[in-house]
Chain length 153, copies 2
DNA sequence: TATTGTTATACTCTATAACTATA
DNA sequence: TATAGTTATAGAGTATAACAATA
């Protein structure tokens, strides 16, 4: 049997390995994504939903869990009282550090399967390449969205 | 703000993009992983759980959904009547083709953000590298598990 | 009226523990 | 007794639709 090779299959297995690694620190992928996003600065709910590519109610649900754990704090804006500012607490920052350790450990140990060919580093660097691509795709997505709003609000 | 760069963050965003792509064909990541695994040959439930790194009840749940859609068929073994053979139907095969199209489309369009530097192909090929690493890691996981069973059943 | 965020509701995935049927 | 698979149960993420509060 020739190995099944598809970009999706690889991404899907990588995703599952991520979940397994995060489970060791009792975090879900969604919670982890939220922590990372908030580590890049406090934000309101709506832009978070856009950046994380989820619905508004999903943000509420995920944040609820993190608030309960003391990892995230909700602050209500004084100027616009509809808006909520979401921010990492110290607990949240520590949790994120633990999560990064767990994930890096598991994914690097997988990449190290390629060390005989000296390709482990290539694999790690390649993910950084995808990081850059994802950043740009997000920017494009958001600017297209703004255009769409102008055309058909 | 310097970009947040971590192997986990990249994997997590890639995972979310996969989910979004799969949603267009009304598949979850778990269902997609099951379809791909079964496309590589029919299997019983227990080895599937091991290979997909999930619990036995998760296999039951995911397969239930796919059986309901006519994508997977359960066949009960005559020799050992506890065992179930899980196999893709033609519908399941077609569904997998649609899923692969959707996923390839979305992930390649993300990789194409790097085309100006001629790095889009590198990103795609790099995922194949991870595919190989994941294959080897799975083999290692399974052989370690067998050893553990021998030592402490 | 439009926007922000939440609530209501429903479905799926996940796990552990308990159970059934079979070996 | 041990194994294969399911059922029971609980918790989390996801979405759409409906809602409240605010602008």
């Amino acid at each position: 049997m020739e190995p099944y090779q598809s970009i999706g299959w690889t991404a899907a297995r990588l995703a599952r390995q991520l979940e397994v690694a995060l489970a060791t620190v009792e975090l879900s992928s969604a919670q982890y994504r939220m922590l990372v996003q908030l580590a890049q600065g406090s934000e309101a709910s709506t832009p978070l939903a856009r950046k994380l590519a989820v619905s508004a109610p999903s943000v509420t649900t995920v944040v609820d869990g993190l608030v309960q754990r003391g990892a995230v704090e909700r602050t209500y804006s004084a100027e616009d009282r509809r808006r909520v500012s979401l921010a990492l607490t110290e607990i949240g920052q520590g949790l994120l550090v633990s999560a990064e350790d767990a994930v890096r450990g598991r994914l690097e140990s997988i990449a190290n399967e390629l060390e005989d060919e000296g390709l482990a580093g290539n694999a790690i660097r390649a993910l950084a390449l995808w990081g850059e691509a994802l950043d740009r795709a997000r920017i494009r997505r958001h600017s297209l969205q703004r255009e769409a709003e102008v055309v058909a609000p």
